[in-house]
């Protein structure tokens, strides 16, 4: 036999019966990737809400409570438009037609003829010059002189509530990721202990022959690093397919969940899912190493 043909055998035999651990890790990685994807979606959605609403204001002129009132909404709206156009810092002013207002309530109330009879308020959409400050209190007072039942909404309250909602989703996702990391570490620690038990004769012999603890630990940690990397890549890959499928449905015009933001991840966000197998493998590597070193410390 030539030198080249002589291949060194692995110090540890190939594991048999480790499939249950691989399944557990793959499921954990799938859930972790879903949680990570949810946090990315929440972050992206919060950003789009901020972009969509920040720098805008909406003036609402309500219908008089008594139909017999002498107030004229058209006159009030026109006067309000004049005030807005003359206000420093306002960039554009766009009154919304009755048809637009009806469209806004359509998702909740339907398109029945009855909706048209509702006392819908007049809405004026205005955008603010970026970086300019508008005194909303003063603007409200001035508008109320021409339209007593009007109010100005700069959306800050709405944006902050949406931001809180997004943050809650993001922190919940992080908490789930932390729990999954702990569970993965526990599963690997358990498997490592079982592996050490199964290979006790090999470990004892290597120890006896003067192998450093690090040498023995390396044989185990590489095994768990590679098997976790493979299993978690499968789990994260399945999650990526799920997100792509959700994106595909939206692309095809199917709304998976009404009123919820799109559930598909874009390619840059999908790249983040690669972190799941990488971090899982590092957790498995560190856990296996620490477990083996702890067991070896107990041997004389």
């Amino acid at each position: 036999m030539s030198d080249k043909q002589r291949v060194r055998g692995r110090i540890l035999p190939r594991e048999k019966g480790a499939a249950p651990l691989d399944v557990v890790i793959a499921v954990m990685a799938f859930l972790a990737a879903l949680a990570l994807g949810a946090s990315l979606l929440a972050d992206r959605q919060a950003e789009s809400w901020r972009e969509g609403l920040a720098g805008r204001l909406t003036v609402q002129i309500l219908q008089p409570e008594h139909p017999t009132s002498s107030r004229n909404l058209d006159t009030e709206t026109e006067a309000a438009l004049q005030i807005l156009r003359g206000t420093h810092g306002i960039l554009t002013v766009t009154p919304m037609s009755d048809a637009d207002a009806t469209k806004l309530v359509e998702p909740w109330l339907g398109a029945d003829a009855m909706v048209k009879d509702l006392p819908l308020p007049r809405l004026i959409d205005a955008t603010i010059v970026p970086g300019e400050h508008v005194d909303f209190a003063q603007l409200t007072t001035r508008l109320q002189t021409v339209a007593p039942d009007s109010n100005v909404d700069d959306h800050t309250r709405w944006i902050s509530r949406l931001q809180n909602l997004a943050n809650t989703i993001i922190y919940a996702a992080y908490a789930i990721l932390a729990l999954i990391a702990v569970a993965t570490a526990a599963a690997v620690a358990f498997a490592t202990r079982a592996g050490l038990e199964a290979h006790h004769d090999i470990v004892a012999l290597l120890h006896q022959m003067g192998a450093h603890s690090g040498f023995i630990a390396r044989a185990f940690e590489w095994h768990y690093l590679l098997s976790t990397l493979a299993a978690s890549a499968v789990g994260a890959g399945l999650a990526a397919i799920a997100f792509l499928a959700a994106g595909g449905l939206e692309f095809a015009g199917v709304e998976p969940v009404p009123f919820l933001p799109p559930l598909g991840l874009n390619p840059q966000e999908l790249v983040w899912l690669l972190a799941v197998p990488l971090v899982s493998a590092i957790i498995a590597w560190a856990t296996a190493r620490l477990s083996v070193l702890a067991v070896l410390r107990e041997i004389y």
Partner: protein, 221 residues
Amino acid sequence: MIRFENVGMRYGPGPEVLRDVTFQLEPGTFTFLTGPSGAGKSTLLKLLYLAEAPSRGLITLFGTDLATARRSAFPALRRRIGVVFQDFRLLSHLSAFDNVALPLRLAGRKTDDYIRDVEELLNWVGLGDRMNAKPPTLSGGEQQRVAIARAVVGQPDLLLADEPTGNVDPEIAQRLIRLFGELNRLGTTVLIATHDRGLIERSRSREMRLVDGRLVELRRG
């Protein structure tokens, strides 16, 4: 130099297996350890190859007092000892070649560096044609020869063997003893635990006998 001073050993709360054992092995000596089964021979070897700590007494190994030595120094001490275990302790998933090469791998040597030495040694013990065989496919005698080759391949400072000729025919036994003798001439201290009176009688080496856990010097080599 290896020195035992008033060494006692008990497993858990049981009776003492070794009592007040005191002896010294000078470098490059050849010694037989004899005694009836259960006299404590294997326990004495375990203390020597650092598998157990003594219950009392002092052990000095290669000039290191084990009682005060740091645990981190033990692997290096263990690598200076070659052991032929009574139950061989071969790794069943590795070939005969890889089993023999194991101490060299642990010492950090590369395959190209030791391949000739290992093949030569396996030829010497009569296993040149069984290098790629896994231990489960080897006979008891063949396994024993692999275990011996593994113990001597790194030219250890101390060679300990527990009944190393128990499973081989007299011709192979003589060959193995010659191998131990060669190693001894190169400077290795050899201690062989055996029941084989013929082996001991043919040699003029020192003999220590364990009786009920106490050591009796029978013959100075």
